[in-house]
């Protein structure tokens, strides 16, 4: 069967609505979640604070040296902060003003639990207050005037993250090549028709996922036969994270309506031998930085349409533990990359390294909280949703939440500040 007829047929299967292409000017929000509670204090290191070195005798990042050019030296951001040396690939983005950082971000969840904290953050809620769906799911439902497509929300990986819960549709995948039905007998038409008919008649739990899957097949069919070449000599890291970013770049360039893309990078739960400029955490930072830098270069032509945010569920404690790692803390730094981001600086107050109730010199170490939180994570997300993604219904995304100005994005006049 020729591709056109096959595609034409698959299109007929998409039940209930014609699939119009979304606005060419659409924007894509890419959410990178660092699972495990990333120690951002070693990524954006407060070298200007002596206490940082006192509390982390083994694992701290040495201050930037005079010329800042040595391979392993921290990279100066301002008089107080420096990048971990492995973040070097992102240093030009900071200098160009397209990478911004919000310091002291966090949630009100003090459980110290990865799952509670991730859940709460992905749901976009306050502790103990349940809002239906995930924050990206609600954003996609509440943003005005655009059609939803099966690829409006994609998650790179085997499962759909909590943040996309409640999205009108969301697809989990590892790569585009996977998005096809393989019928051993090549009798695709009859098999597809039968599946379409069975899932089309379904009214329960599987109705929506069944239809989204069929619709997705139609759209990806068109993309798949074009070979993908990264632009601007972008080299993605040779791992799942790099491959996932590459797929997202391909989808963005294809302009098939991807509005939210989620991708995870794990390995941040560094209780044990975290390392400093090298070591376990440095390897993850390296992957993150090389991946995001390649993504940025590859999408140079599309840079006005793509915004990346990098978040984690909580930061880690300011002092190292007896196994040269760090335990669960509270506040962390969030990064955002994009043309609409107020980059080149660190927003938020300088961290108060010693949170209330914590005194590192006494025996009383019960319930230490780590880095103090000066800004709720929802304020950062809200600025991006309103200022970059144009959401006008923020009360539907974060109900009953009082926002606080962070400064990462402009054009946020619709927001009512605390």
């Amino acid at each position: 069967m020729s591709l056109t007829t096959r595609r034409g047929f698959l299109r007929q299967l998409t039940i209930g609505h014609e699939s119009a292409l979304p606005d060419a000017g659409e924007r894509t929000l890419v959410c990178v979640f660092l699972r495990g509670g990333a120690d951002t204090l070693n990524m954006i290191a407060p070298y200007g604070d002596d206490r940082y070195y006192k509390l982390r005798p083994t694992i701290s990042i040495p201050p930037p040296n005079g010329n800042g050019e040595a391979k392993d030296a921290a990279i100066r951001l301002d008089d107080y902060y420096a990048f971990h040396p492995k973040l070097r690939p992102l240093s030009p983005l900071f200098k160009e003003g397209r990478l911004g950082i919000a310091q002291g971000v966090g949630s009100d969840n003090a459980s110290g639990s990865h799952f509670e904290a991730q859940d709460q953050m992905e749901h976009g809620e306050s502790q103990g207050r349940s809002v239906a769906g995930g924050w990206l799911g609600r954003h996609l439902r509440s943003r005005a005037g655009k059609k939803m497509t099966p690829l409006s929300a994609v998650a790179i990986g085997p499962t759909i993250p909590e943040s996309l819960r409640g999205a009108p549709s969301a697809s989990a995948m590892r790569s585009l090549d996977e998005i096809q039905i393989s019928v051993p007998s090549n009798n695709l038409l009859a098999v597809s028709r039968a599946l379409s008919s069975m899932y089309g008649a379904e009214v329960g739990l599987l109705a929506a996922p069944g239809r989204s899957t069929l619709d997705l097949l139609d759209r990806v069919e068109a993309l798949r036969n074009k070979p993908y070449n990264a632009e601007n000599n972008a080299v993605y890291p040779d791992d799942d994270f790099g491959a996932g970013l590459r797929e997202i770049a391909c989808l963005v360039k294809a302009r098939i309506g991807v509005e939210a893309a989620c991708i995870d990078l794990g390995g941040w739960d560094t209780h044990f031998f975290q390392g400093s400029t090298g070591g376990l955490q440095a390897e993850q930072i390296d992957l993150l930085a090389r991946g995001l830098a390649a993504f940025d270069a590859d999408l140079n032509r599309e840079r006005d349409r793509v915004t990346v945010i990098v978040m984690t569920e909580f930061g880690r404690r300011v002092y190292e533990n007896s196994s040269f790692g760090t335990d669960h803390g509270r506040g962390f730094a969030m990064m955002a990359i994009g043309s609409q981001i107020n980059g080149g600086k660190i927003h938020g107050a300088k961290p108060d390294l010693i949170a209330p109730g914590l005194s590192v010199n006494t025996e009383s170490l019960l319930g230490p909280e780590g880095l103090k939180i000066v800004c709720d994570y929802r304020s950062v997300l809200a600025e991006v949703l309103v200022g970059v993604m144009g959401n006008q219904n923020l009360e539907k995304v974060f109900p009953a939440f009082k926002f606080q100005r962070v400064g990462l994005a402009s054009n946020v006049y619709g927001l009512s500040w605390r």
Partner: protein, 500 residues
């Protein structure tokens, strides 16, 4: 073992005969396949199917308390009664599992001490424990036991890829999960607390206080309270986490002689007084602190509720009825955490009977139930395992300590891979997996989809389901093997077969 000596002689004779053939012609696995078929691990000559428009109650019980209905299971359980079947399953040691053993016992790394496992390469260890898990789920006659092994494997999750876990998980699988899957909850938790794999996975081996400046590593203590026992809203404080961590300081792993085994190092133990969940633990308890902590957390009322709720979620529905959770929690408390007693309470409950079709099969369950429903012959080689990876549920690969989620939503993005697996297995397109659609169709006496579907979904097809399948049959015909296989694949890919 109830296999008679005579039967074993027969097995030995058949096996011996086959093994004597040139290896190039008949491999060991083909010999095992032949022997197991000879002794009944195959599709019986006649197979009854459910006849009503609602899911058959026996089919429902088998769907939840096993990895799916093997051809003929329905007849067997109906003949012996559901009550007798549950009791049979609750005494797995009395069930002859020789045929499954033939397929699954030969993975040698599963029988070794941790130290010996270090002599194997990681891919070998990973492959053996993964294949073993799937083969047991598909072929064991101790099905409820295997379901509970899966439940506790998630509950006490260990990821093979962290640190040395891969060398230590075989021992954990054997002496923690399988040893206590139907035992007492407290024994399970104590075994897990002292499991070398757990001490690596949650950093317990690094939790020590050798000097005044040492701060405990809270990783295991936190998950013990949050995930393994009380639950996140179980009423513990951050101070409790810290105190539990103090109690558990000093458990180390040997690194040379008897590598990977556990010992207590008094000098690394914080021997001061502690207070856990309102209980004072006096100074000087040493290694007894661990037993005290296990006792306190397992006896806590929040633990009874947490475990009851998880078990009800596993066996009844994603949002289990509160009434059932309360009763199961009461049984937990009254029996000192007797897992069999809780299972009796749940499986005999009205809430269980009323929950037909409410659960969504996770990928592992979907694949195991496809293999069982078709009476497939496999030794679980890489092509089959690849599908589990693709759908995101390969055994022992969940990265975080909460284990694979046991609810529908996170898995709804995997439909396409299910469709592809269904079509491939039915068409015998997965290398190392053999199915015989014609034999199954004959055993059921099916002349079309209307008679075939109930074997897989436990009820007659709805008008819409049958219309879709009949339209396919009408347009393509179902007289060739290829078309029959495709029909089978469509039934396995249907919405109804994704639920149970």
């Amino acid at each position: 073992m109830t296999t008679t000596r005579r039967e074993w002689m027969k097995v030995a004779a058949v096996a011996g005969g086959l093994f004597s053939l040139p290896p190039a012609l008949v491999g060991c696995e083909r010999a095992i396949s032949s022997v197991t078929k000879e002794f009944g691990q195959t599709i019986p000559e006649r197979v009854s199917v459910a006849g009503g428009s609602e899911i058959d109650p026996t089919f429902h019980l088998l769907s939840r308390a096993s990895y799916g209905v093997w051809p003929g299971d329905l007849d067997r359980v109906r003949a012996m009664t559901a009550e007798a079947w549950i009791e049979e399953q609750l005494a797995p040691e009395k069930i002859d599992d020789a045929l499954c053993d033939l397929r699954a016992r030969r993975f040698e790394t599963l029988h070794h001490e941790p130290g010996t496992c270090y002599e194997y390469k990681k891919p070998v260890l990973r492959e053996e424990i993964t294949r073993h898990t799937l083969l047991r789920a598909v072929y064991s006659r101790r099905q409820l036991f295997e379901v509970m092994v899966g439940f506790w494997t998630d509950h006490l999750n260990i990821n093979l890829e962290k640190g040395d876990s891969i060398y230590l998980k075989p021992y954990d699988d054997r002496s923690v999960i399988r040893a206590h899957a139907l035992g007492k909850f407290r024994d399970l938790i104590r075994a897990s607390a002292l499991s070398p794999a757990m001490l690596v996975y949650l950093d317990g081996k690094e939790n020590r206080k050798a000097g005044p400046e040492d701060i405990p590593n809270e990783n295991y203590a936190r998950e013990l309270l949050e995930l393994h026992t009380l639950g996140v809203s179980g009423g513990y404080t951050q101070a409790d986490v810290y105190e539990v961590a103090r109690c558990l300081t000093g458990w180390r792993l040997r690194t040379k002689w008897r590598k990977g085994t556990v010992y207590f190092e008094p000098a690394s133990h914080d021997d001061g007084e502690k207070s856990v969940l309102g209980h004072r633990i006096p100074a000087g308890g040493g290694e007894r602190d661990l037993d005290r902590v296990v006792e306190i957390v397992c006896d806590h009322p929040s633990t009874a509720r947490h475990i009851a709720a998880k078990l009800a979620q596993k066996l009844v529905s994603d949002q289990p009825p509160v009434t059932l959770v309360e009763r199961a929690a009461k049984v937990f408390t009254e029996t000192g955490g007797d897992i069999k007693a809780m299972l009796r309470e749940v499986l005999h409950s009205g809430e269980f009977k009323a929950s037909r079709g409410l659960k969504f099969k996770r990928p592992f369950h979907f694949i195991a139930s496809c293999l069982r429903a078709t009476g497939a012959d496999t030794h679980a080689h890489k092509p089959l395992i690849e599908y589990l990876l693709r759908m995101g549920q390969a055994p022992f690969q969940h990265p975080t300590p909460d284990g694979y989620p046991d609810e529908a939503t996170p898995w709804l993005g995997t439909l396409l891979w299910r469709w592809n697996f269904a079509l491939a297995i039915a068409a015998n397109q997965i290398p190392s997996v053999q199915v015989e659609p014609q034999r199954l169709i004959n055993a059921i006496g099916a002349s079309g989809p209307a008679q075939l579907a109930p074997h897989f979904i436990g009820r007659t097809g709805t008008e819409a389901e049958l219309k879709a399948l009949n339209n396919y049959a009408a347009s393509q015909g179902i007289d060739t093997d290829e078309r029959k296989a495709e029909m089978l694949g469509l039934i396995l890919a249907s919405p109804a077969f994704q639920s149970y």
